[in-house]
Symmetry: C2
């Protein structure tokens, strides 16, 4: 039995190494690769991913998993070996249920659509993507169909990213959230908007980068086991437990861009750096879900990085780094500027209060499309109506409407957007539990100390990798199931004070 | 038959992609990787190399090669398909003859010895490496033994890097070279040494890098299909025909370091960038041998980069980049400084005249070790004697003696050093042929124009990748077999004038 387990670990490590190599190649592609490398690089990454998939779906894995069942059932649920076998089985079963020919068709189709979308978006040409998006919808349904027995057709798609989450659970959660957010947002926008011109001066790149690095070093980002480089669309990449990298982009005319993006990616990276080192090379050594990952990026970006306590420590430092720009800007003006709430059309620019409205619109449209209640050709109009209803703004064209996000044009419809809202909800639930366990956290933030918070998150969440699901971790760490109360309390307290609601 | 050929190409491309990925991971390891990534990175690279080796030695390749024999024999030798089948067969036969268990033993042993050497060298402790080096010698003989039928035991080892070259051919070539070099070197060192203090001032890194990049851009290095980064030990890495990278290191107190290293690596890169684009992903898309590769780095570094004509164009530019340091340094003083000949103990610092003496010493010692005429325990003494005899200097300790080069401590004994001398010999033979065909090349160099030379090299050498062996290319390009005459003529002319011999 030991030999079989060792063999399973060895095969898992090979799969891990192939995927990690693909990630290095992707990181290089988006940071340093010269333009001439593009074509072959795409093929090289595809080769590595395909070989990893072939190894994962090899019958030898199935045989080992079967042979290991008796051993597994004799172990406690949270034993490392039991968790390893469970996670490999989950990955294996997900992979083998989808025929290779379908995967290839899907992958070719999404590559084609992505190319078309990159041209259709600037041209405001939804008609160009429409027939392809219909095919995407068809393929998305087919993909779900390989996992029969679901309650809702979106459930298998959600399960890839946020295991165990279902439409039947997310719909009421998001509905409740929506009911809180809309009046809050309306009450805020009825008042005069915050003045954020202090952020829109000229801030030289070098000082911006230096300040961001100082902040995340204090968070606990380990530069011996990571680094930051520049790219177009920031992301975090894990190559191993000893090498977790973040990327950022800098706008010299907008101080918020790099600063909050750096904290956001650092949150993802703290999670990955915090996974138990001895899980390295096993399939347990990764964040457990999209939502949980996003909870960490949002916690460090927003609950910490946009908090009054954080800036009580850092604002003087920021003024020192940018005396010409900020010396005469009072604390409260700056603090309101970084927490400005305003209706907007673009999800990625949205503030804390409106962000989830953008996400819920997309989630609802996905449900409607997958259920057949909405046709692809009616999608742009449905999008506009929802924006008018929820955010009081109608996109002037599809560039700022249905064509804005890459997701539907580079993958399936369904399964990705829910993670963003889940992340926000979880971030507040976890932060509240951390402060409950350690009331010294808020005063520590005011001193630029993040160790107690960071350690609590490591102990309760990070260290486990994907041994537990997000729901399990939330229950263990907070003593309650996932719920929106802490998030609503957090928004009420913060924005209630800022806007005297 | 077409289907079989396509399958062979597909499998070759997979092997190519795995090896290219390993090269990207290695490049990252030596340029940007944080220290924490080291341990896992070594394993990831090893996994990729192992999977590539498994694919290359898979019986499916052998069956395809057999099935393709009739097709191959109906094609001309230099047809692309014939060349592809020939090169895959060579790679396959080399790989399958060596048992996997032996490869693993060798690889574990060399990894161990390398670790020991990194400590033994600074400690001047040959005794620490001696027993391991004996095992390396034993393994080197065993490796050669998997290729029976050789004339000399070093021949199979040489064949890995410089296909078709043999001791019986190299010994007389190097002997003749040695007979020319020693008196030339003695005549030069009997005179007063050149004054190179002008190179040993302080030269800020940024300007050094900018100047180097300007030079290689004029050579024809394509920055759309390559880039330069910093590392400890400069090298060139090919990821694809569209992505060939060089690395460099800068010493702010020695202008020669980065400048000539950049030109050297750019020579390697021009070769790789010049391979026919449509060979991308096939095993033909690589330089044909160590010697031929080194001929290109040395041609651009020395025959071009240390020539009077080159500096007639570039010296004023260099003075403009470093006015404080060089404005008052006359051309001839600078030119003698970069071509200073002096006896030295370290191969990598050696000038054009003495460099091959360092190489020939190592090659002769390898022959003696492999033939059993020299014992590993007597190697340090034999090293000292040869340095005394050939260069008139005795290393004060083994750090500057037998412990200096990484080669024997990270691989087998035999098969690597000959390429350095072959490269020098070939560089002059090719350059002479280029100038013979295009007498306008020397005057063009004086105008900073390198296109005629670069195009001739592309047409005669680079484009073919490894379709032809180095010997075949030399004959095709120069009309003569490999010989030292052009190299001796080149050194005589250049150093005869510099030192009035």
């Amino acid at each position: 039995m030991k030999a079989k387990l060792l063999k399973l670990k060895r095969l898992s490590r090979e799969i891990n190494d192939l995927n990690a190599a693909a990630t290095v190649l992707y990181w290089d592609q988006t940071t340093y690769m010269p333009p001439g490398g593009a074509e072959t690089r795409a093929r090289q990454i595809a080769t590595l991913r395909r070989l990893a998939h072939e190894k994962l779906t090899h019958p030898a894995i199935g045989r080992l998993l079967n042979a290991l069942r008796p051993y597994e059932s004799g172990l406690p649920y949270d034993a490392d070996d039991a968790s390893l076998i469970r996670v490999v089985r989950r990955d294996y079963e997900r992979a083998v249920r989808v025929p290779a020919a379908f995967m290839e068709e899907l992958s070719n189709h999404t590559a084609t659509l992505y190319e078309i979308w990159t041209k259709a978006r600037p041209a405001n040409d939804f008609a160009a993507v429409e027939p392809f998006l219909e095919k995407t919808l068809d393929l998305s349904r087919q993909l779900a169909g390989f996992f029969p027995g679901y309650e809702h057709i979106i459930d298998p798609l959600i399960d890839f990213a946020d295991e165990g989450m279902k439409a039947s659970m997310l719909r009421p959660l998001f509905c409740e959230l929506h009911q809180h957010l809309v009046p809050m947002f309306q009450a805020i926008t009825a008042q005069q908007a915050a003045d954020d011109t202090c952020l829109l001066q000229r801030f030289p790149e070098e000082q911006q980068v230096a300040f961001g690095l100082e902040v995340i070093a204090r968070f606990g980002f380990d530069f011996e086991r990571g680094r930051q480089d520049k790219t177009h669309h920031p992301f975090t990449a894990r190559f191993s437990s000893g090498d977790v990298r973040i990327t950022t982009r800098v706008k010299e005319d907008d101080l918020g861009e790099a600063l909050f993006s750096t904290m956001h990616e650092a949150g993802h990276a703290l999670y990955e750096q915090g996974i138990r080192r001895d899980l390295e090379g096993t399939p347990l050594a990764r964040g457990t879900s999209s939502g949980m990952h996003e909870s960490q990026s949002r916690l460090w970006e927003n609950l910490v990085g946009r908090s009054r306590g954080f800036w009580r420590f850092f604002y003087l430092r920021l003024q020192t780094a940018f005396p010409q720009q900020l010396a005469s800007v009072p604390f409260d003006v700056f603090f309101r500027a970084i927490n400005k709430v305003k209706p907007s059309l673009i999800r990625t620019n949205a503030d804390e209060v409106t962000y989830n409205l953008h996400v819920i619109i997309r989630f609802d449209l996905e449900l409607a499309l997958l259920e057949g209640r909405l046709l692809v050709r009616d999608l742009p109009e449905a999008w506009r109506e929802r924006y008018k209803a929820d955010l009081g703004m109608m996109p002037p064209d599809d560039r700022e409407g249905v064509l804005q996000d890459v997701h539907w044009y580079s993958g399936v419809i369904g399964g990705e957007f829910q993670g963003y809202a889940l992340g926000n909800i979880m971030s507040a639930q976890l932060f509240e539990a951390a402060v409950g366990a350690h009331p010294e956290i808020p005063p520590e933030l005011e001193q630029g100390k993040f160790g107690t918070l960071h350690n609590w998150l490591k102990d309760e969440i990070y260290q486990y990798g994907c041994k537990y699901t997000a729901s399990e971790l939330i229950e263990r760490a907070t003593g309650a199931p996932l719920n929106i109360e802490p998030y609503i309390r957090y928004l009420r307290a913060k924005y209630g004070e800022l806007y005297r609601l």
